[in-house]
Amino acid sequence: MLHFDRRLIHNFDWVLTLALVLISIMSLSSLFSATWNGGPAPSPLFFKQLYFFLIGYAVIFLLINIDYSELELFAYLGYGSVCLLLIYTKLFVKTVAGTQRWIDLGFLKLQPSEPTKLVLVLVLASCYARRESPENGYQLKDLLRPGILTSVPFLLILIQPDLGTALMLAILFISMTLFARLRWSTLNTLSLAGLGCAWLGWKYALKPYQRRRIETFLNPEADPMNHGYQIKQSKIAVGSGRLFGKGFLEGTQGHLNFLPERHTDFAFAVWCEELGFVGSVFFLACYFFLLLWGINIALSARDKFGVFLAFGLVMLIFWQAVINLFMIMGMLPVVGIPLPLFSYGGSSLLTTLAAIGILMNIHMRRFHKR
């Protein structure tokens, strides 16, 4: 299995590596500032995240040695395990802050919903790649398999409850299905059904706090101290950065606790506040470049599985990032979705780094073997 082709070194993805390293440095600097308590030493959280980065790099190194086509085998294995973990979580894990999300492994509080996203991308990619696309695109019955594969973890995560991650799974499914091409009629039917579900969901399925979040987003003045408050403080943090920022470690919104969740969901707001427009745009450019390179990997992949997989992985990172950044900039309600590679959290970081590892893998094997 661990064949190593020397050509692979030749094809190593230096571009992606460079983008990843730049983002990692920015991410760790921002975390250093967000968790800094004024003393000379960085906080323990900083070191923890640093170790996860190192572990993640090791995971990348491991992953690029396996031909990605062999990952398909692991995909279903992984799918089965994350589903079991999700069930385990629901059944045996203590409720923390109203949800059951984390399995305590000592060094890491594993959040099974994070690898679920990655596994789902693998499974869906395999699903669509194996099936030859019909003339006019997929029909409803063709979507049965991927649909079921998505809905199992979707429902398991929804009942945790973790609306954000569940929605992420749905978005991944939608992105990849649209990518795979649907018939127009099917698309119309599904859109209508989706709207119906959304309406029913709003009416019956959403917990009051979830509905409140959406309501306060639409009308922030109604609840200025809670979710409206978070968004307001986040916008103040971002906006007050102005062109060049307040300077590293000089942000007032973050350091004086006005900004909530400043090392997790709102981590990027700290960066915006301290580094200003220039720093934020630089970060966005790196991020954008990383994703664009991912698309490039997709369109240069050697086979259909590679294309779907690379596209799915890019979407995995892209949608999380967009939703998180929109939230930070006050364009979406508060949903608990982290900024991949930037927000503090081991599960998310390892998942994202693994995804990037797979991307590199696809890139390195873009040429057909002879």
Binding site: V238, G276, F318
Partner: protein, 652 residues
């Protein structure tokens, strides 16, 4: 692009270049692969779109709106607390402090957000021993003001409570002790009408003030010099900035601004004399006014209006009941009678008539007129006050000293009302003196034109007779009369009265200094004025003078009494004076200056409904003169006892 008919255009058959060896999960259909590769390429449009939106949003938040958000971030973290500036002190001419400040400890609450922390307010109600509803009412009153402006919960805290709150500040987020200066009145209600009082600034005052100077809850001068000299006295507020975290706890102090104390006012008022005047008036429960002025400069030494205001009742806002009581009080404590009270000048006006008569050549000092006790004019008989017997043959000097009405009827009738008014106006009557006091009245000196305009009727000659003895339409304020007497005393110079000696800033630099302002000058009347002075000296010192109760040993006083009719009602005519209802009794006037040969001080006393000038007003002036000349009188007592001039008992 989603439509896949492109694939149809290029039907591919060849494409199955199966890679050898390894199991590959999907057959490589190059055509299909190309199709998906193209889709992947197009999908980058989605990325570009969303990242463009993000960049645009960043631009909007950080560049377009950056300034506002910077301000919001600052408001979040910086709490500013005003430090009230000590108000300027008010001192008397000799530097004695009349009004200063002392620190008072107030409790303020700085809101965090729009929420009212009920628990905290409950705690504060217990600590402060206050009604929770009252605290909530104070908070509600401040609703709508920015959150960083502190709300005052209690004033004038006792020391133990200050210490308690300071010790427990960790449990009381947002609660602070504010030290604010409060007024101290060292002489009680001394000169309360001219000093005035402070009150919380109201909406209207706030709107009319320059922006940034005041905010809700500030104290502002509401009356008197506190109001007129607000700009001098208020100083400039300081500001204390501190950085707080999201919970409202202070993290560190930022650079602040020290308050700048207000300017001190030094008055021309003499505390001793003012106190004497007010005490006499209060002792006899008299309502009226006492004014004393430096004859040769216009500096006011005493400006007393009685009854005085109780300044204590105004501290922290006056209650409706107290206010109503003051409004309904027969003695009108709210009115500063020295400039707001207008009374007929009565016989004191004979000085004007005499001057006009002399100046116009109608009388000479030696002319005599026979007074039978009344004067027949038209078909009416005008009485002299000494109706029984009359004064007989009187010259000007005697007419002044005994206040013979008939003499002045004659003079007035020959002068006519307009010539009389001319001289009255030159002596400052009928117009505002321009003193630094509020609501000054101008009084009234009638002319024939005025009457025509006011009533549409021509002047009746008979009315001139009333005018000549200071009755009828004539109205003057005690201050105007004082200034007139001073002008007579100093040879014809009418000064503008002043109460501010100097204004100095906290460093002691004088920013404003008194200098005499001449508002009118009688030219070429020294001789005539000297003749009048003789009459006035005689009025006090003469055998039959009406003002003998103001006579002093060693200092020659010159003065004129007056008894101003309030109503002319037949029903009271035959009553004894004591039986006339208070509000229909005559006002008593006395105006004088001393020493007669080299005048220094002029004093006017008005006692409302005091009946007779000679008996009610003159003794008060005498006491003031005694105080003023205390040193010289003592000398005279020692050295001049041998002059043998018997001090005749004052006659009634």
């Amino acid at each position: 692009m989603k439509k896949g008919n492109r694939r149809r255009r290029r039907p591919q058959e060849e494409g199955e270049r199966q890679s050898s060896g390894k199991p590959v999960i999907s057959r490589v259909n190059e055509d299909e692969l190309d199709f998906y590769r193209r889709r992947a390429m197009y999908s980058s449009g989605v990325l570009i779109f969303f990242f463009a939106v993000l960049a645009a949003r960043l631009w909007y938040l950080q560049i377009q709106q950056g300034e506002e958000y910077t301000q919001l971030a600052r408001n979040n973290r910086v709490r500013s607390l005003d430090i009230a500036a000590p108000r300027g002190n008010i001192i008397d001419r000799k530097g004695r402090a009349i009004v200063t400040n002392r620190p008072s400890f107030n409790v303020v609450w700085v809101r965090e957000g729009d929420r009212i922390d009920e628990e905290l307010i409950k705690k504060m109600a217990v600590i402060l021993d206050a009604d929770i509803d009252e605290l909530l009412a104070r908070i509600r009153k401040m609703a709508g003001t920015p959150g960083h402006i502190p709300i005052r919960l209690a004033e004038n805290l006792a020391w133990d409570k200050v210490a308690y709150i300071e010790n427990n500040r960790m449990n009381l987020p947002g609660i602070k002790i504010e030290v604010a200066p409060q007024r101290v009145y060292h002489y009680g209600n001394l000169a309360s009408h001219i000093i005035g009082y402070l009150g919380e600034i109201n909406k209207k005052e706030l709107e009319n003030s320059e922006p940034g100077v005041y905010r809700v809850g500030d104290m502002i001068g509401k009356m008197g010099l506190e109001k007129l000299r607000e700009k001098d006295l208020r100083g400039e507020k300081g500001r204390h900035y501190m950085e707080v975290n999201a919970l409202g706890f202070e993290q560190r102090n930022l650079k602040g601004l020290k308050p700048l104390p207000g300017n001190d006012l030094q008055l021309t008022i003499d505390v001793d004399l003012q106190q004497t005047a007010e005490e006499i008036m209060a002792k006899e429960e008299k309502s009226g006014a006492v004014v004393a002025v430096e004859v040769n400069t216009g500096r006011l030494l005493v400006v007393a209006s009685s009854p005085v205001l109780d300044l204590g009742k105004f501290l922290g806002g006056i209650s409706r009941k107290n206010w109503q009581d003051m409004l309904n009080n027969l003695k009108h404590p709210l009115i500063n009678k020295t400039v707001q009270g207008q009374y007929p000048p009565a016989s004191t006006y004979k000085i004007v008539t005499a001057l006009a008569g002399l100046a116009e050549g109608i009388v000479t000092p030696d002319n005599t007129i026979y007074c039978p006790g009344s004067y027949r004019f038209g078909n009416r008989s005008y009485r002299c006050w000494k109706y029984r017997g009359g004064h007989g043959s009187v010259n000007l000097k005697r007419a002044l000293s005994e206040s013979c009405d008939v003499y002045f009827y004659h003079v007035g009738q020959r002068l006519g009302v307009n010539r009389l008014a001319n001289y009255a106006k030159q002596l400052g009557l009928g117009r505002k003196t321009g003193v630094e006091m509020e609501h000054e009245k101008s009084g009234l000196i009638p002319t024939s034109d005025w009457k025509l305009e006011r009533y549409g009727k021509p002047w009746q000659d008979g009315e001139t007779l009333s005018i000549a003895i200071g009755q009828g339409f004539n109205l003057v304020t005690p201050l105007q009369l004082t200034m007139m007497t001073a002008a007579v005393a100093n040879g014809g110079t009418l000064y503008r009265p002043a109460i501010i000696e100097t204004v100095h800033d906290p460093d002691g630099h004088i920013t404003e200094r008194f200098h005499p302002i001449i508002s009118d000058q009688l030219k070429g009347q020294e001789r005539n004025l000297n003749i009048i002075k003789e009459g006035l000296v005689e009025a006090v010192n003469g055998k039959h003078g009406t003002a003998s109760r103001a006579r002093l040993k060693g200092i020659i006083v010159a003065g004129k009494t007056g008894t101003a009719q309030v109503v002319r009602l037949k029903q009271y005519k035959h009553l004894k004076e004591e039986d006339i209802p208070y509000k229909y009794r005559d006002h008593a006037w006395f105006t004088c200056f001393a020493p007669a040969d080299k005048p220094e001080i002029a004093i006017t006393v008005l006692v409302e409904h005091g009946l007779h000038g000679g008996s009610a007003a003159a003794p008060i002036a005498k006491e003031l003169l005694q105080k003023y000349f205390a040193d010289r009188l003592a000398e005279a007592e020692e050295g001049g006892s041998g002059t043998g001039e018997t001090a005749t008992n004052p006659q009634d």
